[in-house]
Symmetry: C2
DNA sequence: ACCTGAACACCGTTCAAGT
DNA sequence: ACCTGAACACCGTTCAAGT
C-alpha cells in the first residue's frame, strides 16, 4: 500500500493539494516538489517514462539523487504527482448545452491531454488517484457535461469511466502504431503464419490472414482496385465508432427512463 | 523496437507458435521456454509481476540466471510469452446463436482469464501481440460471436477492441478496490478535502465530497436509512452498465444498417 | 532544515569459460 | 549445445554525516 499521512489520505494527495506544511527554515537551495515533478515530466516527455530515474531527475536539476527524498517520499509518489500534473485540462472550458456534444468535447479534452504526455497511460491509476486535483477537475467536467441528463450519480460515474477508458485505449493504440510501426513482416513471415493460423483452428481469422489483412506490417494483398488503403491508420474512425456506440446506447437508456417516469 | 526473426515476425511470435527450430544436440538438463514461462507465471500468480525477475525465475527452476538467455532473448520476450500464455480461453466454447448473448459470453470469458491472472493487465499489449496464438483465438471467437451481424470487418474489430477494453478496465477497477482497499480516510482527512474541493471550483463534485460519497475510504454519511450501502463494491453493476450501453448502441447501428439496405 | 557521500541490496545483461 | 561464474552498468533507498 502507498504511504499515507495521519489523516488517512495518501501523501501524494496531500502534497498535490498543497496540504503539506513546509516549515521552510534554514537555507534552501531552491528545490521543491513542483520543480522535481516538472523536471521529471520534461524527461518523460523527451525520453519516455523509463528514463525517469531518481538519479536522472536529480541530475537534471543539479542536485544529488538523495536530495529528492526530502520532498518526495519515493519514486512511487513522484509518479503519482507526475500523473496528476500531466492530466491538466485547459483553465476555462465552454461545454455545449447538448449533452452529446458536451460528452464528445470532454472526451476530446482527455484525449488531448494523454496525447501530449503519452507516458500518462503508463502510470497506474490506483484507487486514490481520483482524489488528485486534476482527476477531480476531469470528473467535475464530465459531470457538468451530463447535468441535463436524467441519470443516477452511479450511472454518470459509469459513463465517465467507460468513456475515459475508451479514449485511453485509443490513444494507446495510436501510439503503439506510431512507434512500433516499423514492424515489417516479410512474405515468408506471412506464409509461416498461414501455416499455423489454419481455417480449421481459426475459421474467422484465417481468411484475413490469407489475404494478409490481419497482419500489421504485411504488404497489402494484390487485390483488384482498392489495395492502397491505410490498414489501421484510421484510429480516428475507431475512436468515433466507439464513442458513437456509447452515446447511442446512452440515448436509448434516456428515452427508456423518460418514458417510464 | 522488439527483436525480430529474419522473417520480420517478432521473436516472441515465432517462439509462441513453435516456429523456432530447436536443434537439440548434446546434453540438455531439461530447460525450455515452456518451463521458463510456466515458472514465471507461477511466480506472478503468487507474488505479482514485479516479483518476476530473471533471477527469481531461474532460481525456482534450479538453474542460474544466465541459463534462461539460451531460451528467451530477454525479459521483454519472457513477458510477451507470459502475456499470451495467460490469456488462454477454454478449449471448447459454445456460443449462443443470439449475438447479444454471444458477445456477453465472449466478454465474460475474457474477464475470467484476466481475473485468474491479474498481472496480465500490467503487460503492455503492443501491436505485435495480436499475432500471438491466444490473441488470435480471442479475436476468432469474438468474430464468431458476430457472424450473423451485418457489419463490416473494421466495425467488428472495433467492437472487439472497445468491449475488451471495457472488460479490462473493469477487472482493473475490481482489483484496485480489492488490494488497495485498505485506504481509510479519517473524518479529518475528508475535512481537509472539503476545504480544497470547493463548490466554486468544482460545482459538481463538491456536493459529493460534502456527503463523503466521493471519497473512497471514507465513513458513510450518517444519512437517514440507506446508509449501509456498499459504496463501490458493485463493479458488477458498472460492468453490466458499460456492456449494455455498447450492445444497445450496436443494436441501433444494426437497425439503421438493415433499414437502409 | 537542507543537502551530501558512502553504502546496500537489488536489477537485466555481457562475455569468456567450462563440459 | 548447454550451462556456469565473474563482471558490468545500472536501479531505488538507507543512514550517518556535514553545513
Amino acid at each position: 500500500m502507498a504511504d499515507t499521512t495521519e489523516t488517512g489520505l495518501p501523501r501524494a494527495v496531500a502534497v498535490a493539494w498543497g496540504m503539506q506544511e513546509t516549515p521552510q527554515r534554514g537555507p534552501s537551495r531552491g528545490l521543491s516538489h513542483e520543480r522535481i515533478v516538472a523536471a521529471a515530466m520534461e524527461i518523460a516527455d523527451a525520453d519516455g517514462l523509463s528514463a525517469v530515474t531518481m538519479q536522472a531527475v536529480a541530475k537534471s536539476l543539479g542536485f544529488t539523487t538523495m536530495s529528492l527524498y526530502r520532498y518526495v517520499s519515493g519514486k512511487d509518489e513522484l509518479l503519482r504527482l507526475m500523473g496528476d500534473a500531466g492530466a491538466q485540462l485547459p483553465e476555462k472550458v465552454r461545454l455545449s448545452p447538448d449533452w452529446r456534444q458536451a460528452l464528445r468535447q470532454w472526451a476530446s479534452l482527455l484525449r488531448e491531454a494523454w496525447r501530449t504526455h503519452s507516458w500518462l497511460l503508463e502510470i497506474p491509476r490506483g484507487q486514490a488517484s481520483v482524489l488528485m486535483p486534476n482527476s477531480v477537475r476531469i470528473a467535475d467536467l464530465g459531470l457538468a457535461a451530463m447535468v441535463s441528463l436524467p441519470l443516477s450519480r452511479d450511472e454518470k460515474i459509469g459513463i465517465i469511466l467507460v468513456v475515459s477508458q475508451h479514449v485511453a485505449s485509443m490513444v494507446e493504440l495510436e501510439l503503439s502504431l506510431a512507434d512500433e510501426g516499423e514492424l515489417r513482416v516479410s512474405e515468408e513471415g506471412v506464409d509461416q503464419l498461414r501455416e499455423v493460423i489454419t481455417e480449421k483452428r481459426f475459421p474467422h481469422v484465417a481468411p484475413l490472414v490469407q489475404t494478409g489483412e490481419y497482419v500489421p506490417g504485411a504488404a497489402p494483398p494484390p487485390g483488384p482496385g482498392d489495395a492502397a488503403e491505410a490498414p489501421a491508420e484510421d484510429v480516428e474512425a475507431e475512436y468515433d465508432f466507439g464513442l458513437d456506440l456509447l452515446i447511442a446506447g446512452l440515448e436509448i437508456r434516456i428515452q427508456a427512463a423518460s418514458s417510464t417516469s
